[in-house]
Symmetry: C2
Subunit: 203 residues, 2 copies
């Protein structure tokens, strides 16, 4: 469980995570095995258990790292995007990049397999969606304040709509291998919030 960090295993652990992440995003957590990783990394299955004692431990580490990287990406969007509308586009682009690699969002994939996951992984998956929701809620409120965005319902509900819609657009577009299918859906979705005066306040 607790592994002391030397130069060696830090690199090995990271490579294991890289390969496992790819496998989960393509095949699912129940769709790959230690043997797949060992084959690609060129070390034995047994050696993998040194770095991650159980598959559940590997899974939790996978989500943690993914969530951290995602947080960094969101910070990057904040840094380069001036308006709320552009930030939403930047958010959708994060999904688009995943689809370009013919992968599913890690946590979208795990959400499908949710009921088969060990509980620590379940908790981490929900934390990821919560993290997305908080960020989007902030962007939506900002956009509402400065008048650049407009939406029915609360910022929170709209954030949840966006998360679900983009995850689902990714889910469905991937079998078709159709990047454009996702791009169009994301554009149409976000356009419904971006257009000024498009949606009068609910009666």
């Amino acid at each position: 469980m607790a592994i002391k960090m030397t130069q060696q295993n830090a690199g090995t652990a990271a490579r294991i995570l890289d390969i496992a992440e790819q496998l989960v995003q393509v095949r699912g957590f129940n769709g790959f095995s230690y043997a797949d990783i060992s084959a690609e990394l060129g070390i034995t299955k047994a050696a993998l258990h040194y770095h991650f004692a159980s598959k559940a431990d590997l899974g939790v580490a996978l989500i943690s790292r993914y969530a951290e990287r995602f947080a960094a990406s969101l910070a990057g969007v904040d840094a380069v995007a001036a308006t709320a509308s552009i930030r939403l586009s930047g958010y959708a682009d994060l999904y688009l990049e995943v689809l370009r690699k013919r992968k599913m969002c890690l946590c979208g994939m795990l959400a499908a397999e949710y009921q088969t996951l060990p509980q620590p992984m379940q908790d981490a998956v929900m934390a990821f969606f919560d993290q997305n929701e908080v960020w989007l809620e902030g962007v939506l409120e900002q956009g509402s304040s400065d008048g650049s965005l407009q939406y029915g319902g609360t910022a929170r509900d709209t954030a949840r709509l966006i998360i679900g819609s983009l995850e689902g657009a990714l889910l469905v577009a991937r079998p078709y291998g159709d990047v454009e299918r996702f791009r169009v859906a994301a554009t149409n979705l976000l356009a419904s919030f971006t257009r000024p005066a498009a949606q009068p306040a609910l009666a």
Copy 2:
């Protein structure tokens, strides 16, 4: 593969499909085994192979039956819903019923696992989404004609947006066990098409 239909195995095959369908919608195609079915049905694993020679055969039969039942549900919506807007609500309600049983849409689940599926199953999954798309496209065009619906982009693109958004709302709401989360997302999504004069034609 080809099974002659007697009174006996028709009933047994249907019960196998019932149990397998439930398992796939909860745990995924890679998350259940013949042993799970045999345990619940009270017959041996070996007996299952009489009805469905391979797991792939079972999977294809599963999707076929699901698609047929879904088509019947859509016909039911057509029958009871007078307007395009009400038909869209009826469509969303089909997803809601699935979530109420704490399940994922069968083909949404299989879309996540897509890359691990035998090709006949892959084809059947896409055919299911195509079927949804055709029906929604018809409803959207009808709504556009009579002025009750309004949307940016084509009917086809909007149909795809709706499919993806509802699949994704289902995917994300299920871990939270939150039916209301889905209901709100679906309502907000459909409201953006339903409100008259909400969206002026694209410039």
